[in-house]
């Protein structure tokens, strides 16, 4: 799989990453090399192999549906770039 400029721009957009125009050729080259490495997997036939999502075959733990967390809004918002009246501020979304 060889990625070109348009591919890199599309992936960067999907990942919401601004990248410099001048860096695109290097990203294209490096990402292509990484995908070439990854595609070595295709040497193995994995038909019928059950995918492994977790190293130990355990079920997701459940808990009682009870309130366990206390309100820590102030502490958590203390490290936010921009807040007002307990709300996170972002540029206007709705015209």
């Amino acid at each position: 799989m060889s990625l070109d400029k348009a591919d890199v721009e599309k992936i960067a957009h999907l990942a919401r990453l601004a990248i410099d125009e001048g860096d695109i050729p290097e990203y294209a080259r490096n990402l292509t090399n990484i995908l070439d490495l990854v595609e070595q997997m295709n040497a193995v036939d994995t038909a019928g192999v059950t995918p492994m999502a977790h190293p130990l075959e355990v079920a997701q733990r459940l808990r009682e549906d009870q309130v366990t967390e206390t309100d820590q809004r102030e502490a958590f918002q203390a490290c936010a770039p921009s807040v007002e009246a307990g709300l996170y501020l972002v540029p206007q979304v709705i015209e």
């Binding site: 990942a15 990248i19 994995t46 999502a53 490290c79």
Partner: protein, 483 residues
């Protein structure tokens, strides 16, 4: 004081030979004097450390104190520390003072340990050389023109340079074991689920695991005893009893079955490193162990598999950095999309961006089956290889890394070459097994690590196997010149 083991320091504190405050001051002084060159710390928490040391001295005076009370430790800057900068080696979190403590930090605080500071690391733990850190590369104390390994390179360098008796690391594809090997220290990656990931900034959640980095297996055992254990706040934490890891350190190794995977001694391994590993195995034979050849046939595909699984999980995990709730935010965003894109584009370095993009691509519509599903199937085959090997043997041994510490800048141009530094460690993460790196000798003045891999939850045996070797060798006790 800086050369003593944790057990020796604990004894000294109890016998009132020195106080925790004196010990902490001595280490802070060393950090101030030596770390300018090494760059192993991102944040030195001087006031915080002295405050904790005085509290520990009060506890010691009261007679109530476990083995870590008053012992200064360095924490990888991936563990959240309340009120202290937790940067994860990234510009993205340069301004982030965590609002809570990680589980591991809570456990050390509870045990009375002293937090000296937060150690340097590859950005978001993505790297094998510590060169992707926003705070600059760490230098290897054995050769300051060489890398310490990564991603826990700051922790490894700090412990090797005797700036801290021990430290923590995290290991997603080798990030405890490879720097431990390259800096000549002892590092252990526990079984996946053994140490809580709560408050440990996530890279690849199905692989990440925290563990101790120390100068000996005995010290690592003391640390792991405090770090390990169930935590309901980590959904994959396992509720299994934590044994006293120090109790079995001295167990006899007679009849221990060691498996040597033939795939770990083939092409790509430095011949001199191979000799060091063979000599270590010979030492184990003298201790009564039996050695058999085993095969891990899918070994060569562990790195390709990892570079789908880890970036895919990383692209999901790092989507939380959006410039809204915490972390870097760009100046004057035009709209919401511009806010996301520029905050992330400015906050992340090139390696993190590459991995986010690979993961995004692998998970994007039309490619999921070819990449992510395929990698998960490969992961099953790699894990099954280990299962079969552990039917025959108790532990698996081999090199931790294919070579010794390489020069700063040597591998930065080509990510794929860098990725291959973890060729022997990555499969262990994919399988979720515990693994260790133990100093086993030197090649041209640089340390070599022996990797020991155990079955699930067999950390006690790994520590025992490492400790007995350290009783009959002194590789782990050697210090870099001038240190």
């Amino acid at each position: 004081m800086h050369t003593k083991s944790i057990a020796e320091l604990a004894a000294g504190l109890r016998a009132r030979e020195f106080s925790s405050e004196e010990l902490t001051r001595a280490l802070l002084e060393r950090i101030g004097r030596l770390d300018g060159e090494l760059n192993s710390f991102i944040t030195v928490a001087e006031e915080h450390a002295l405050e904790q040391a005085r509290a520990a001295d009060a506890r010691l005076a009261g007679g109530e104190a476990g083995p870590l009370c008053g012992i200064p430790l360095a924490q990888k800057d991936i563990f959240c520390t309340r009120g202290l900068r937790t940067s994860c080696g990234s510009k993205m979190l340069d301004n982030f003072a965590a609002p809570y403590d990680a589980h591991v930090i809570e456990r050390f605080n509870g045990a009375g340990a002293v937090l000296l500071g937060k150690t340097n690391m590859d950005e978001f733990a993505m790297g094998s050389s510590n060169e992707t850190s926003f705070y600059g590369p760490v230098r290897n104390p054995w050769d300051t023109s060489a890398v310490p390994g990564g991603s826990s390179g700051g922790s490894a360098a700090a412990v090797a340079a005797r700036l801290a008796p021990a430290a923590t690391g995290t290991d997603t594809g080798g990030s405890i074991r490879q720097p431990a090997a390259l800096c000549g220290i002892t590092g252990l990656k526990p079984t996946y689920g053994r140490v809580s990931r709560y408050g440990m900034i996530a890279f690849a959640s199905s692989l990440d695991q925290g563990g101790p980095m120390a100068r000996s297996a005995e010290d690592a055992a003391i640390l792991l005893g405090t770090m390990a254990g169930f935590d309901r706040r980590d959904s994959t934490s396992l509720d299994q009893a934590v044994p006293d890891y120090t109790a079995t350190l001295g167990d006899d190794l007679k009849g221990l079955k060691i498996g040597l995977p033939k795939e770990y001694f083939g092409e790509g391994l430095d011949a001199k490193v191979a000799q060091v590993i063979e000599a270590a195995v010979a030492e184990y034979k003298k201790l009564g162990a039996e050695v058999v050849e085993v095969s891990l046939p899918n070994s060569a595909l562990a790195v390709p598999t990892y570079y789908v699984v880890a970036p895919a999980e990383c692209s999901s995990n790092l989507s939380r950095f959006d410039g809204v709730r915490f972390g870097h935010r760009c100046e004057e965003p035009r709209d919401l999309e511009d806010l996301y894109k520029r905050s992330r584009g400015e906050g992340f370095g090139p390696e993190v961006k590459r991995r986010i993009m690979i993961g995004t691509y692998a998970l994007s519509a039309g490619y999921y089956d070819a990449y992510y599903l395929k990698a998960q199937q490969m992961r099953r085959l790699i894990s099954d290889d280990f299962k079969r090997a552990f039917e025959q043997v108790d532990v698996i041994m081999g090199p931790t890394a294919p070579g010794t510490a390489f020069k700063i800048g040597e591998k930065t141009d080509d990510p794929v070459t860098m990725y291959l530094s973890d060729i022997y460690t990555i499969a262990v993460n994919l399988a979720g097994l515990p693994g260790m790196s133990v100093p086993a000798g030197f090649v041209d003045g640089l340390p070599v690590g022996l990797q020991i891999v155990g079955n699930y939850f067999d950390e006690a045996r790994l520590l025992n196997v490492a400790h007995r070797y350290q009783q009959v060798t002194d590789w782990h006790a050697r210090a870099p010149e001038g240190i």
